[in-house]
């Protein structure tokens, strides 16, 4: 059985939860299981569609729903062999090279203008590739074939001459990144995701060992613009499960800089002020946005373009943000079909999907 075909485990109903740091405990509410499950089966996961899908979940109040969905998504991804940046990174480089070779290299426009050209790309692929740390510059060889597993590179030397190089070791490419992007950050030294809390919460998972040891940036949690990183962390530390022996939701987040050294597998997107990342996402697969502000800051962010989005929207928020959301959703409707999702949502919760128009 492939990892992405596993049955979605449920949180044990004997679990109790507390949202005030352990002072008050409640029987496991339906909405907690619902959001963990939403994170595990996020939009576009099962269908494996290439186009972005957006799911908006309406909640009546502030909640830990986004964090719960993030934990669900992390648990799912550590069991998924496809949740690995290595392959995605090489895919990204290949797409970049293809765009350069097939389109941008021979484009007649002196200034890149995809809207005018109607080429379908977001920006120009210059063909330049950089190597992290050494800062060596390369250029895609014009005779490379996009179908080549490893394309040829031209090394650019300091006097401006382009010298062909032949690099057959694929590992070398993990350190390369296209102009305007970032290097793959992988294999943080010797750490390992602690699987026990996930097992305690969700039953025995079947994780991919490499995923437990390898950094990943395909999954993002975007905090509300009202909170910075520290406040979001503190907020999520207040949500506890009885079966975790006092550990909190915040403790489960594998976010760089949020606790003991571990392998980062969840990027925290700080939307307060200028958007920043706990580590740079490389073609992320899913962004979980906590609130309208986080959603609006992420939906058009170039580093998150193409990622599926699961946004938790509270109805007791400010009216002006509602108006911004309304405007954004209206503009999305030229590319997406709005569909109300009839799923077994808890009372007071509704779900709307934006699916790309075929």
């Amino acid at each position: 059985m492939k990892a992405y075909e596993i049955l979605i485990p449920l949180i044990s109903p004997s679990n109790k939860v507390s949202d005030d740091g352990g002072d008050t405990w409640y029987d496991l509410p339906q909405w907690v299981s619902f959001f963990v499950r939403q994170g595990m089966d996020w939009p576009g996961y099962s269908s494996r569609r290439q186009e972005r899908q957006i799911r908006l979940i309406s909640m009546p109040c502030q909640s830990h729903a986004a964090g719960l969905a993030a934990i669900g998504a992390v648990a799912r991804d550590i069991c998924d062999p496809a949740a690995n940046d290595k392959a995605r990174h090489i895919d990204g480089l290949m797409r970049y090279a293809s765009q350069y070779l097939d389109h941008c290299k021979d484009c007649k426009l002196t200034t890149c203008n995809p809207e005018f050209k109607r080429c379908g790309f977001r920006s120009k692929a210059s063909g330049r590739i950089f190597k992290a740390k050494s800062k060596t510059r390369f250029k895609v060889h014009p005779e490379s074939k996009p179908a080549d597993a490893v394309f040829k590179l031209l090394q650019v030397v300091t006097n401006g001459k382009e010298v062909p190089v032949d690099i057959s070791d694929i590992d070398y490419y993990y350190g390369c990144y296209p102009e305007g992007a970032v290097a793959l950050e992988v294999g943080i030294s010797g750490g390992r995701i602690e699987i026990n809390p996930f097992n305690q919460l969700l039953g025995n998972l079947d994780p991919i060992d490499e995923n437990l040891r390898t950094a990943y940036s395909g999954l993002c949690l975007a905090g509300s613009p009202r909170f910075g990183s520290a406040e979001t962390k503190r907020f999520n530390l207040g949500f506890k499960f009885s079966q975790l022996g006092g550990a909190s939701l915040g403790d489960l987040f594998p976010i760089k800089g949020w606790g003991a050294p571990r392998v980062p597998r969840l990027v925290f997107v700080n939307t307060r002020g200028e958007v920043s990342f706990s580590h740079m996402p490389i073609s992320p697969r899913l962004v979980i946005a906590d609130g309208v502000g986080a959603f609006l800051n992420c939906v058009d962010h170039p580093a998150l373009s193409g990622a599926n989005i699961l946004a938790v929207i509270r109805r007791d928020g400010r009216r002006d943000t509602d108006e911004d959301l309304s405007a954004k959703l209206n503009s999305l409707q030229q590319w997406y079909e709005r569909r109300r999702v009839q799923i077994d949502a808890p009372p007071g919760v509704s779900v709307v999907d934006y699916l790309p128009i075929a």
């Binding site: 509410p29 009546p60 207040g238 109805r315 007791d316 928020g317 009216r319 808890p346 009372p347 509704s350």
Partner: protein, 530 residues
């Protein structure tokens, strides 16, 4: 900040239906006072600076009446009086309707002094009932009334309860049994309330106290993801279902109320239909009849220059007054043309209109059906075209009967074979010149000098008064007197007609381009009478 998720979600899980008790308070003096404000505001032209300021102060007052726990005291009277400078809306300046209604409003406000506000009484009753039955509650009101509500609670010896005035307040509200709301649920303005009151309730029952005839905003509670379906008994969205219970409280009123005059009133019964209507709506207008066939629409509180023959010794013969205050027998000064338009002398105009009307008559005589077909083919698609063509062919009088649309007139001239004509060494389109004649005859300004403003009106007033009082004294009688008066520019002349007002008719609402132009009474009554 407390985390209330579990409370809120538990409430949602336990409530398949929420209750919305609407308590409508029927109190005659407040209803009549609101009516006066509505009717005055409905007649105002918001785009006019003078009337716009008045409109805004009325809006502020009616909003306060709607959503605040007002005390009916001398301060309240002063607020009503302060709508007009000095507490007076004289008929000359504002028109008869506004003047009468303002007098009524003031009278009612005085009579209300010392009365308890029934909305507040009902609110206190509701809060006391909650306390005695052991139910928790919160109150939703405007932010500027927070302290007053707190004071009311203290005076009524009620325990302190949360007061919700904003989205931020609502987000921190713990779950309570009942929410009391003072005033309608509005999405903007003074009475703005958090949309979450309906879309994400933290109470099982909402009790709302409003004046009878008031309604919530039709989209209140909707958000980008959830919209309510609104029925008479229920309000249903994907996440919440509300069930209405309506209850009316009639509060007796023993004092007599000044009755309105016979002036016809067409204002909607809902305050916010009047005060929150979109700009660009039709404007209120009175029709000034200038003879048996023609009239002109004018916003009732907009100013006109008028002349009253047989005026008293201490009265000014020429005054600037509200159109709504004109009386039969007075003369309306109507500017027809400012400056010399060259090609538009009366003689040339008459010749030109006679030319195309003769051509039209000839075509109708030879084959009216063929002309009708040609016009229709060319895009003149209007009802009763055959009848209208005969009407257009009538000889010119005060106005030149012609198609209403410039394009239709161009087509008509083309089909009649009336093309270019040499004029002053230039070749000018005949139809264009003839169309300007028609516009002039309809009183439309084709000269920049006819850009009417208060300075222009004051100039008109002065020169008209001079002309009428200089000797030998001009005899003004009959339905229409044409004058040539000096314009604001040196050496320029403006043509002014004095039309005797035959009657004033209320109840028109017309677009701005239909105002201040002379047309057939039938046209106004068919098109713009309510």
């Amino acid at each position: 900040m407390p985390i209330l998720t579990n409370q809120v979600m538990s409430l949602a899980a336990s409530r398949p239906v929420y209750f919305f008790n609407k308590v409508g308070v029927d109190f005659l003096p407040v209803a009549e006072l609101r009516r006066c404000l509505r009717e005055m505001a409905y007649d105002l032209d918001r785009d006019d600076d003078r009337q716009g300021a008045l409109y805004r102060s009325m809006f502020a007052l009616i909003s306060e009446i709607q959503v605040s726990p007002l005390n009916f005291d001398e301060q309240f009277c002063a607020k009503v009086e302060a709508i007009f400078d000095g507490g007076v809306a004289d008929e000359i300046t504002w028109g008869r309707g506004v003047s009468e209604r303002f007098a009524r409003a003031k009278s009612i406000a005085y009579d209300l002094v010392g009365e308890l506000n029934p909305l507040v009484i009902e609110l206190i009753k509701g809060m006391r009932a909650s306390v005695s039955s052991g139910h928790s509650f919160a109150v939703s009101c405007t932010s500027r009334d927070r302290d007053i509500i707190r004071h009311i609670m203290e005076e009524a010896r009620l325990p302190a309860a949360p007061i919700v005035t904003s989205d931020a307040d609502f987000s921190q509200l713990p779950v309570v049994d009942t929410m009391f709301r003072l005033g309608p649920l509005l999405s903007w303005g003074r009475g703005v309330a958090p949309a979450a009151i309906l879309s994400a309730p933290r109470f099982s029952t909402l009790v709302q106290f409003v004046w009878v005839g008031t309604s919530d905003d039709s989209d209140f509670g909707d958000d980008p993801l959830n919209e309510f379906e609104r029925g008479n008994d229920r309000l249903v969205s994907q996440v919440v279902t509300w069930e209405f219970k309506r209850h009316a409280v009639v509060v007796e009123w023993g004092k007599p109320i000044l009755q309105p005059s016979s002036t016809v009133v067409h204002a909607p019964e809902n305050d916010f239909e009047v005060f929150r209507r979109e700009r660009g709506d039709l404007r209120a207008a009175v029709m000034i009849r200038i003879d048996n066939r023609l009239g002109v629409l004018w916003p009732p509180s907009s100013l006109v220059v008028s002349y009253a023959p047989g005026h008293g010794l201490d009265e000014q013969p020429v005054v600037m007054q509200a159109a709504g205050g004109l009386r039969p027998g007075q003369y309306l000064a109507y500017v027809k043309q400012v400056g010399d338009e060259g090609c538009h002398s009366n003689q040339v105009t008459e010749e030109r209109s006679t030319l195309w009307k003769s051509a039209l008559s000839a075509a109708l005589t030879s084959d009216s059906d063929a002309l009708k077909r040609r016009l229709e083919l060319a895009g003149v698609r209007i009802s009763s075209l055959a009848q209208r063509m005969r009407y257009w062919a009538e000889p010119p009088s005060t106005v030149i009967h012609a198609p209403q649309s410039e394009e239709h007139f161009r087509v008509l001239c083309h089909e009649l074979g009336l093309n270019s004509t040499p004029a002053a060494g230039r070749i000018l389109d005949f139809w264009r010149l003839a169309w300007d004649d028609i516009r002039l005859s309809r009183g439309e300004a084709i000269s920049a000098g006819v850009d009417r403003n208060e300075a222009f009106d004051r100039h008109l007033l002065v020169v008209l008064e001079q002309r009428l009082t200089e000797s030998p004294q001009l005899q003004i009688n009959g339905e229409r007197v044409s004058l040539e008066l000096p314009s604001m520019r040196d050496g320029e002349v403006m043509k002014v007609d004095l039309y005797q007002v035959q009657a004033l008719e209320d109840g028109f609402r017309a677009p701005i381009n239909a105002l201040k132009t002379i047309r057939e009474i039938d046209y106004f009554q068919t098109q713009w009478h309510q």
